[in-house]
Symmetry: C2
Subunit: 311 residues, 2 copies
DNA sequence: TGAGCCGATCCATGATGTGGAACAGGACTC
DNA sequence: GAGTCCTGTTCCACATCATGGATCGGCTCA
């Protein structure tokens, strides 16, 4: 933990955020103020409404809020205050308060005496239930990520697909002196942003890749205007041949990474392993070493899960 | 896992359910049809709205639904169908569908090709975030529960308080031939129902206990009409002296249990350990042995968490 | 004393979620 | 192949419900 602190003065923006969205102006202002770590940027994003007009606005808002509380409280040790949550989410305090009360009533959020809001027991339990029912991928990859982090001395990630998004499902840190902090557990980006995300795309058919990029076209131009979609397509094409993705700091300044897709027999591609670090550690011969590590673990996970196939 | 099956024909109702609530009639009818294990009964309960009129109806409904999906999908291996969920929750299909779509859009629920609805990656992640932010109690007690289950050859539980409810936060099974199936992870009951729940109450002041029973008075008469509150008060009073709760099958027929509160310095009492089994295994000298085991683990957990007190 | 923050509460407004009804598409049966 | 009985999905008029600006009480600090 203490090692983290020395990285606090990184360029958090990292060239990744260039929001033209007027809605985000307020959030941007709050960003530096509230959370010092780079995740603040991701936190802000995690709270957006997805597709509107589906007749479930309040649910989406409430779940975004739940996510947000988890991210904030997870990043720091303490809980999140009402005003913070309201500021970051960009909603009025009264609304946030009402929603939080509902979340508390359901046990998904808790608040110890005068402390901040944090996730509650129900959230914990939901995770346990999810482990049983969703798929054993996250559990299965746990030891792999630990090995990857230890052997590489960098940060290892499990990325999973949800619809047209990818989400950082797990993250393990090595004990190196440099810590890549561009991606935290729970961060969600449109498919194509991040090495793991690209690795997943490389396993989809070209038509599907097009469909994903089309679906997120607006998001891309609004939120990642500096990212060239054609460059991403190139990376994907190369990954189809090479079997791995190499991201030379495309998304966050100085954050380089390699990723490989997880191939599980009988299951659509929807997960990837990746390792991220600084440029110097993801170049030249080290790329091959990292890829070898990743491939080895990806193969192990793939085999473990393919055998116990769905009934 | 296969050992479980041989117990499927237990008396699921177990004398626990005596619902006079007219709203529940439909659910009762569905119960045996849909889920065979006793948890079906608890599933049905988990879906109730809590306090209405707080201006967050849809959130509560959506979260109940989320919980329900998790419980159903967790109980069996497969996912839950829309119609099932609609039937159990007692809401029209259209509404359930709309909510599920919202939950899917947010990644909390997933649905693989034509399969049923199950919890999604976001739920998984929420659990991870919760482990970091909520409190280390669940993680810390994991090994204790495993030891308890192994040493007792019965089923060990971690019960936690949420508001005026207690919830089964974790559960580990021994390899004995009899499996107590009256309580599953995620099951929620009003405080006072269950040995662990009573153990938590025994650490509260009499005034607080009264307040809790008052708060849940309606629930008790509606849902546990056979349970005498004065009997519960007696158990609590005895537990204050003895330091443990003994439940002689009060709630579910044949499900006896012992429980001890978890005392953590600097934290309000809100958790308990318990072991449940059949009557023959929770009587006479064995009670003391079980209590000794529980006390030992409770002490260990308490010390582990008291040292790393909140900042 | 009062400015500034915190979380909590009120309540008129209309946007929003609601759910009955109708639909499409399989899987079986007669 | 017309029948029933399941799925999951879409539509849309209705009014319930969430909304959020304004206000308040409590606390800390200058």
């Amino acid at each position: 933990m203490p090692e983290r602190e020395q990285l606090n003065d990184w360029d958090h923006n990292g060239g990744m955020y260039n929001g033209a969205d007027p809605q985000d102006e307020h959030r941007m202002k709050m960003r530096g103020k509230i959370l010092r770590r780079s995740a603040s940027f991701n936190v802000a994003h995690a709270v957006d409404d997805l597709e509107p007009g589906t007749g479930a606005q309040s649910i989406q808002r409430a779940l975004s809020l739940l996510n947000l509380v988890g991210l904030i409280a997870g990043e720091r040790g303490s809980g999140a205050s009402l005003s913070e949550i309201a500021s970051i989410s960009g909603r009025p305090k009264a609304s946030v308060h009402r929603m939080l009360q509902a979340l508390i009533a359901m046990g998904y959020v808790e608040r110890f005496e005068e402390g901040g809001y944090r996730l509650g027991v129900q959230s914990q339990i939901l995770g346990q239930l999810a482990q049983k029912s969703v798929d054993p991928l996250v559990t299965e990859s746990e030891s792999s990520l630990l090995r990857l982090a230890e052997l590489s001395q960098d940060t290892a990630f499990l990325t999973m697909r949800t619809g047209s998004y990818s989400i950082c499902a797990r993250r393990e840190e090595g004990f190196g002196e440099i810590l890549n902090n561009a991606l935290s557990v729970g961060d969600r980006h449109p498919l194509g942003i991040g090495a793991g995300s690209l690795a997943i795309l490389s396993e989809l058919s070209p038509a599907e890749v097009d469909a994903q990029f089309d679906a997120n076209a607006q998001l891309f131009t609004e939120r990642y205007p500096k990212v060239s979609v054609t460059a991403l397509r190139d990376i994907i094409d190369r990954a189809r041949v090479d079997g791995f993705v190499h991201n030379p700091g495309l998304f966050a300044q100085g954050s380089w990474a390699v990723g490989v897709p997880l191939k599980i027999r009988g299951s659509r591609p929807r997960a990837a392993l990746s390792i991220a670090s600084i440029a110097e550690r993801v170049t030249g011969p080290r790329v091959e070493r990292l890829v070898a590590l990743l491939r080895h673990e990806a193969k192990a996970i793939g085999e473990a899960l393919s055998t116990q196939a769905e009934p």
